[in-house]
Amino acid sequence: MGVTGTSVIQAVEHDAGAGPGQPAVQIAHLRKTYGPLVAVDDVSFSVAAGEIFGILGPNGAGKTTTVECAIGLRQADAGSISLLGLDPRADRDRIHEVVGVQLQASAMPARLRVGEILDMYRSFYRDPADVGELIEALGLAGKRGSFYKSLSGGQRQRLSVALALIGRPKIAVLDEMTTGLDPAARRDAWELIAGIRDRGVTILLVTHFMEEAERLCDRVALIDGGRVVALDTPAGLAARASGGKTVRFLPSAPFDDRLLTDLPEVSRVDRPGRQVLVTGTGELVNAVILTLHAAGVTAREVQLDSSNLEDAFVRLTGKQLADTTEGARS
């Protein structure tokens, strides 16, 4: 190559380092068809460096095809993709060094040991992570000498995440990484992803678990029918879907509705039975309770209903997400 190892690394970092203003991932008008089937119709989004970006959608929405195009596994029919300023097809050699991938449905040979697989993948990268540290962080430290075939589903998933991270990537693409895990293992995986992000890795997370997107992602693209139907923070999407939040309470004394409807935070007041139901935005609870208190009324049994991402999804796509217990894929 004619260059020393160090200078090559610096060159890669220079070329592939996302500047402060440059997004880590930028996808514009991506389109991919398989014969008559339009898997991805028109998908655009950009992911800032250090972000956990979720791609959420029902099975068959085009999530996996989108990331497969992004990592250069598939050639897009139209649109542009840039990862850290690199093209996944033209600059694929560089892309493979700076993007770590966890694919759906990729297994390892049954009779290789965990340590042997990790050592092999480690040898593929210029500046790999330490195997011991990595498997410690992933809770696989005791499994280094175990055959792949003896690992549980959760352990295999964690190994697959370890392999995605072993090259110290700048971007990690994780496709349905918690599918097939039990709830406890899933929570562990979420903590792990948050930890990876804290180390400065940008994460592109494909999921069909609402809770996962809600808990983990800085922003979420809702994909349905090969299109982005909404893109916002999880809270922003939820608010957009419901048009606000509602507070329910039992008043200690009668009061005039106008007391509340005059508040800027309140959009309407209903009285189903003895309860009062106030709909509005912003610091709704504080505004309602303080106003009532000033009028000598106490609000009892206060309940706050805020809609969640699931409501947003149903509202924006008109469908339920797939049953979230089984390992279905898109």
């Binding site: 090559v8 493979h96 993007v99 991938v101 297994a107 092999m120 090259g167």
Partner: protein, 265 residues
């Protein structure tokens, strides 16, 4: 499947030293897998060696029939059993792991690393070639040392014969890996091809006893040509060009077809 356009044979961007280290890491793991699931070692080394020992112990095999050109029946079986080992390794040992890696998604996963998935194929070929050479050496050495087979007249000719035989059989194995969608299919195709080819190699009827038509057919089969080339190197000297060309043609044609049809996903 064909929409997958990843370039399996691209060169890696890693520096040369790292590239070598990565390749040998893959070879090391392929060797471990071969050792841990020793189907290739059993079919490619143990079975032909066992047959050789049985034949060596049978008094009937010590006869030197007139039509054998001065060789004993046992001597005639030495290249046949060497071809047995090469065929097992080329047609089963090589393709089965590759097909199972494709099924498991191992090759697809590799294509997202700086290392191309074709390196697994190359590593597998290195491991199988190593076992193939070891198998041939063991068979010839045991035949000579324990059962009095004569030393080959042309060791260089024997070496060349083994090399082109390996090239031809490995190319056939790669085509099997290319067309078989599942490990089961690869296993069935490999075995179905193995037995008729072994027939033409002379396993049940040595070539010296074959009628003219059968011998003509045998000359154009990969194992018939392999036995012909190895036998000439043992008995008379440097092998004739015809069987070497036949084997080279198999290597080129089947290698081309394998390259054309091999899917990495």
């Amino acid at each position: 499947m064909n929409s997958l356009t990843m370039p399996a044979t691209r060169s890696s961007a890693l520096p040369a030293g790292r590239r070598r280290a990565a390749f040998w890491q893959i070879v090391l793991n392929e060797a471990r897998l071969t050792w841990r699931r020793p189907i290739g070692l059993i079919g490619g080394v143990a079975i032909p060696l066992l047959l050789l020992i049985i034949f060596g112990l049978l008094p009937a095999f010590k006869q030197v029939p007139a039509s054998f050109g001065g060789q004993s029946i046992f001597d005639a079986y030495v290249p046949i059993l060497a071809a047995f080992g090469l065929a097992m390794l080329g047609m089963l040992g090589l393709p089965l792991p590759l097909v199972s890696y494709r099924e498991l998604g191992v090759l697809r996963r590799l294509s997202t690393t700086p290392v191309p998935p074709s390196w697994v194929l190359a590593a597998q070929a290195v491991v199988q070639a190593f076992i193939a050479v070891a198998s041939v050496v063991v068979i010839f050495v045991v035949a000579m040392a324990a059962f009095g087979a004569p030393a080959p007249k042309s060791p260089a000719g024997l070496l060349l014969s083994v090399a082109v035989s390996m090239a031809g059989l490995f190319a056939i194995g790669l085509l099997i890996a290319a067309v078989a969608k599942t490990s089961t299919a690869a296993n069935v195709i490999g075995r179905l091809a193995f037995f008729p080819l072994m027939f033409f190699a002379g396993l049940w009827l040595p070539r010296a006893l074959m009628p003219a038509l059968l011998l003509d057919i045998s000359n154009y089969t990969p194992l018939g040509a392999a036995v012909q080339a190895m036998q000439s190197s043992m008995q008379t000297g440097f092998p004739p060009t015809a069987p070497l060309l036949v084997l080279a043609a198999y290597a080129i044609v089947f290698g081309f077809l394998a390259r054309r049809f091999f899917a990495w996903e």
